[in-house]
């Protein structure tokens, strides 16, 4: 079995620096690194040679673009033919990492890979601005299990506080650490690896500021349409849950972050209801996004409350 960590974060947040630190920390394992180079500084070839780490670089486009997925799959397959203990995948700053979770969970070729977690690097100084303009920041956070607020050495304490608050307003359950120079502590990685990650207590206290919307689905909708419908507003939620009866089967909708998960449900649902509930942090524009999505899928949506 191969363990895989995904490192994501906007351009310039410090992914490459962090990756080097992570490689040093994990150097007792057999490592392989997959990198999607878009930025200026590449991984230090010398460092990799020193530690005996194999490297694959994917160029000319973001790994997770539709037209490059074949290259990523090819590299992944190659990596598995001589399996390392740990695979580190660094996603280019503009890439949408939700596709990687999809590839790993749906393609049987990769069933021997254990997805350990996604770590998102956040730039303490520029994050609030790029978060407003680049939609991918949202998706990167939403698919992550840990966020590292980096460059706290050059940011004012209020700036770092503001970034942490901004992230929590959108993802109240996300584990956040503060760091500089892309440093990672062993305890953080251990926490990521621990099998039981309990619901954070702060989730309960922030209850009152959470947004909630319940959507009634018409049973004539297909699963594909439901998936595409959810994709239109999922970025403005951190959780979507519900049971639906579509295409003569029962399905369990359980979406966390930007990951759409609709799976067949074998037990009979508690009641015949086609309802999904979306939860959002106070900072998200949930109602607006749902309204646009409803416009696109009008005949299939019976109501929103």
């Amino acid at each position: 079995m191969v363990q895989l960590y995904l490192i994501t974060g906007f351009l310039g947040a410090g992914k490459t620096t962090f990756l080097k630190n992570l490689i040093r920390m994990l150097s007792s394992f057999r490592l392989r690194v997959i990198v999607n180079e878009f930025g200026k500084e590449g991984i230090d070839g010398k460092l990799l040679a020193e530690l005996g780490v194999a490297l694959d670089e994917i160029n000319n486009g973001s790994i997770f673009c539709s037209c490059r997925l074949d290259k990523f799959e090819e590299v992944l397959e190659n990596a598995l033919s001589d399996p390392p203990d740990i695979l580190l995948v660094e996603a280019s700053g503009l890439s949408d990492p939700t596709n990687i979770r999809k590839i790993l969970t749906t393609n049987p070729k990769f069933s021997s890979i254990i997805f350990k977690g996604s770590i998102c690097l956040v730039d303490a100084v520029s994050f609030p601005k790029v978060f407003q303009t680049a939609r991918v920041c949202n998706r990167q956070l939403s698919v992550s299990d840990m966020a590292l607020i980096n460059k706290t050495d050059i940011a004012a304490p209020e700036q770092t506080d503001a970034v942490e608050k901004l992230i929590l307003d959108h993802y109240p359950e996300l584990v956040i650490y503060r760091t500089s120079f892309g440093e990672i502590r062993k305890e953080w990685l251990d926490a990521l690896n621990s099998p039981s990650r309990e619901e954070k207590p702060r989730f309960q206290t922030q209850d009152i500021t959470l947004q909630k919307a319940t959507i009634q689905i018409n049973d004539t909708m297909t699963v594909y349409q439901l998936e595409q419908f959810i994709k239109m507003f999922i970025e403005d939620t951190y959780r979507i849950k519900g049971f639906v009866d579509l295409e003569n089967k029962t399905w369990f909708v359980d979406c966390v972050g930007s990951l759409v998960q609709i799976s067949p449900y074998s037990l009979s649902s508690p009641e015949k209801c086609n309802k999904i509930t979306a939860l959002a942090g106070q900072g998200m524009s949930l109602k607006k996004s749902i309204a646009i999505a409803v416009e696109w899928y009008q005949p299939y949506i019976l109501g929103v409350e």
Binding site: F10, L11, G12, G39, C65, S66, C67, L69, D70, E73, G93, L94, D96, S126, K129, V130, Q132, T133, A134, R135, V136, Y224, Q225, Q228, K231, M232, I292, W296, Y297
Partner: protein, 354 residues
Amino acid sequence: MTVPCICTLPTKEDGRLPMILKTMARMKEAVGDTTALYGLICGPFTLASHLRGNDIFMDMYDDEDYVNNLLEYCTEFGKKMSEYYIEAGMDVIAVVDPLVSQVSPKHFAEFLSKPFTDLFDSIRIQGAFSSFFVCGDATKNIEEMCKTNPDSVSVDENVNIVAAKAVTDRYNITIGGNIPLTSVMLHGTQQDNMKYVVDMLDKIENKKNLIVAPGCDIPYAVPVENNIGIAQAVHETESVREMLKNYVAVQENIEIDLPDYEHLTKPFIEVFTLDSATCAACTYMMGAADVAKEHFGDAIDVVEYKFTLKENIARCVKMGVTNLPSIYINGKLRFSSIIPRREELQSAIEELLK
């Protein structure tokens, strides 16, 4: 921050333009009468991000004037490139701007509406068509994209084309797309590709203003026959639907007698086609075999098996023929999808006559 000067706009001699324009002229001459040609240019927003780097996302927050000025320059760049491509014979200018799927509709309206509208207007004035090509999940921006008045919009597999077409139909804009590149085109069989197109066409009620296309650049390793299958499914949808139905049906009861290939009296050329009457590649493949027949006369036997007939499907299954069109000689696959040159086929046959 400075914006590049207008004097840096390209001439036809700059960079790789001479090679590109020469290639365009060749294509125009070769297939211009039957095939529309798309000339692809880098869209203004993506170009701006290449020039400015990732800081452009900060600039959109901090220095809007700079972003607007840079976009203006990039739009002029796009107009110049379009001018050269149209002159070289391109029918459609595809403005490829993947970064558009990275910003919100609000930011699109704020920064990008004007540049793109400007660019598409200029393409229209020059008498060519335009296509707004955005890779990635552009769903949220489709409506804003339509408002910039392109003649068409091209989407990739991330977008639900049926739902998106409802939006483009309202603006009377053509939509192109969106066959999945890896799962269907690269890894799928010819049948998988034909089925995908038939299913897609069935889901789209109003077939006006629709271009069936791959979602984006086709991976290099996509087998040619997959493209051939797709084209046939578009042109002869009902015939292909029948083929697929029969393909499934014959899996159960195959009763075909294959020739005794070991004891043939003369070379036996079997041409497997989708349908040489309607599929271009098949016409050429059959044509090559006919030329050989003319040359060798009674010294060889030639036969065509069209996939439109059930018993031919059964033969394909029994012989393990997976890609059409193809030529088998004495029961062995010799040419698949790529049409053999006259000499190639001739020498393959001559070997057997010895």
